[in-house]
Symmetry: C2
Subunit: 480 residues, 2 copies
Amino acid sequence: MAEVDVTGVDAAAVDAAVADLAARFRAALEPPVRAMSALDAATLRARFDEPLPEHGLPVEEVLADLEERAGGGLAGSTGGRYFGYVTGAALPASAIVEAWTAAVDQNVGMWPLGPAAVELEQVTLEWLADLLDFPRGSGYFGSGATMANTVCLAVARHRFGLLHGVDVKQDGVRALPELAVYGSDELHLSDHKALRTLGLGSGCVRAIPIDDDYAMRVDLLDEAIERDRHAGVEPAIVIAQAGSVNTGASDPIAAIADVCERHRLWLHVDGAFGAFFRLCARTAPLVAGLERADSLAVDAHKWLNVPNGVGFALLRDAVLHAETFGGSAGYLTPGAGANLHELGIEASRSWRGASVWAALKQLGRAGVAELVTRCCDLALELVELVEASPVLEATAPAPTNIVCFRYRPAGWPEGAELDALNRRVQAAVAAEGDVFHTGAQLATGFCQRAAIVSWRTTSADVRALADAVERHGAAQAGGG
Amino acid sequence: MAEVDVTGVDAAAVDAAVADLAARFRAALEPPVRAMSALDAATLRARFDEPLPEHGLPVEEVLADLEERAGGGLAGSTGGRYFGYVTGAALPASAIVEAWTAAVDQNVGMWPLGPAAVELEQVTLEWLADLLDFPRGSGYFGSGATMANTVCLAVARHRFGLLHGVDVKQDGVRALPELAVYGSDELHLSDHKALRTLGLGSGCVRAIPIDDDYAMRVDLLDEAIERDRHAGVEPAIVIAQAGSVNTGASDPIAAIADVCERHRLWLHVDGAFGAFFRLCARTAPLVAGLERADSLAVDAHKWLNVPNGVGFALLRDAVLHAETFGGSAGYLTPGAGANLHELGIEASRSWRGASVWAALKQLGRAGVAELVTRCCDLALELVELVEASPVLEATAPAPTNIVCFRYRPAGWPEGAELDALNRRVQAAVAAEGDVFHTGAQLATGFCQRAAIVSWRTTSADVRALADAVERHGAAQAGGG
């Protein structure tokens, strides 16, 4: 059989495509013009909607085709005026390294399939543990905090099985006694999803009320545990949240750790973004005690500003971690190093840790601390703008990098009409697209909510947000 | 507060870094010199092992630093002489598009956070369904076949709950009756892991014996189902495998679909690579009936030759799929299009589908068919080389793209010594690193195992593998 190139690729075409990539990649690293797309779903769908092509397109045209179709349809989350959820931008070094890893295409699931990649990831996990003052035990890079929560809670489930003489890998959740998991009223959807995935069901979660600071009330946690014990339900896991998504508050981790110690429960910290509060002097006390957790789940595409798709799990007990996911098969030929498929849910896996390594190399510990501190300082600036405005008011404490506030012109009472006004304001700001933030439903009503986490955000960007809410507020209140 | 650039990045530095990326990216797209790294774990670890840096490195130096440290430590899986497991290479268009998506950094978990990205993925999933003759229902891009299997089996678990009046999302696996899942003796580890993750435990799996063609014996499947029914265990799911990893065989899907219909069981097809056998005229009949499955899980980083980290789940019933993962929270502000976090396990998610879109654009349907056909033809060539050699012999049928064979000089009997010889041969070929393949433990003993799936593999590469096994076989047999 003659050597056939099925793809019709020649070196000149690849050269042209790579030159094209460089220009487009450079442009994509520029701050985006808009924070939010102005195009609707039908328009964008129509751009992509064609039948599966029968024949291929020259390689050098594919990226241009994508850029043209996607043009105007991208969220500007890499810019400084994107305040949605808790979404980092992409640090140049991380984006560049991640781009390169697409070409070398290592599979870190087994050591022989990505030897350097596996070793880099192991070292990077140690760096992350050191950065967050968490004990160096064991770790895993998943696709985000939800996967990291799932990995951590799978280890907790395994350990709960051991305590009750059940091999949960073999016999499943049916063999376990009825168990309870504790989290605050503000527990993130991601934890509920992890528990559902693991077959525990979200019905096992006891939602512990929060105090005025949006933090879990530990006295009520203790009561709930006792109540379950008396009812014959086995308390198993407490999930403390470092950084609640609504307000950026943190549960009192040290006090929760005391409760877990007393009741011998697994302490999992969902630190999707809040774990990084340790890096800012003002916010560090909020997450004191985090180092006492059995497991910690964190996103890297939040504070570390790496491209989306990377989170990490840190486990105190490496043996429990290995037991939870260990197991090979007759067709696998292990190599000389770690086989990461035995530390997580996935088999084949991309080289996720490289972009995290790159962020830590670009910033260093001092740069990460500066980034976190600066964003938390910008949140204070936004609070000051809100307090100084006659038409804005804070609606929750803002102890970290998230600010909740609302538009409330003189004389408007609390209630459904004010909520509706604020919904219109959020939607109008998003539709204009110069800045992007979200809303949140708090006990005090619907509010404007901004998370500050991008390395690009400045004072001017924060002011632009306050101005946009005031401007659209006036228009909506006048027109409403 | 003055505008501070925490990262010390200026435009010139980014320009330099992007120029650097282009050169290195182009080099990384060249076929690698070696199929396997020659460096050991300790050497590679030492290359990366330094304390977490206190201060950052200039952005333009980070990629060069990584390339230097990783040099010689990468698996050459993007080349034509990599025959390990079933691992595709990286098509240039896919690698380039994936690189660009790192820079634009969309989060497809919710529509407003990646509007064009979400629409592209939805269209691409429809293309994939069309390509594989699977009904257009619903789908999801996960990080690989294991995640895709997990998504599919979570939907199956949800539906099993509905049949028994259980809301498994809320009440978990404990509320379900005891259930059984059926797969062949050759069922992939990935399915076992998915069942463990989902809290069903791998103990629920009934391993159905295989026939001489390594395919599930449907008569024994039927018997096993009846046996469970009589024992009071609820048969729930049958996992048919399109493409077993040892030999590339496929279970008889149409006959299994008949059984599932008769017993009203969920039919899941693990088609990690075998689903693509539909694209080659010779192998298509092996996977007939695949279109009757309730769910199908496939890897994209195998036949589609996109960079590692993408698989997809296809579901026949879009309503069941949405019910399984649906659910929002007070802090989420939905947009005008689909929120993909409600179709899978993850919350934030990278734009995985873009590289698949790029592969389908670069190849077209005809190009995919040509690629699959060509690799399956090359497997036949390898079989011919084995049959023509006086010292090689086939050890299993090779109906698709995987070939199992062993080195067996005249007069060597079956048994432990021959197995040991073949283990040494595989290890010696891997250590030399010019070609890379794995071994497999079959009922007939330990054998050499090669999977042909790269767009770059040619007749010369296949011959190089046969030659390497003969050469190292002679050395090991002489020296053993």
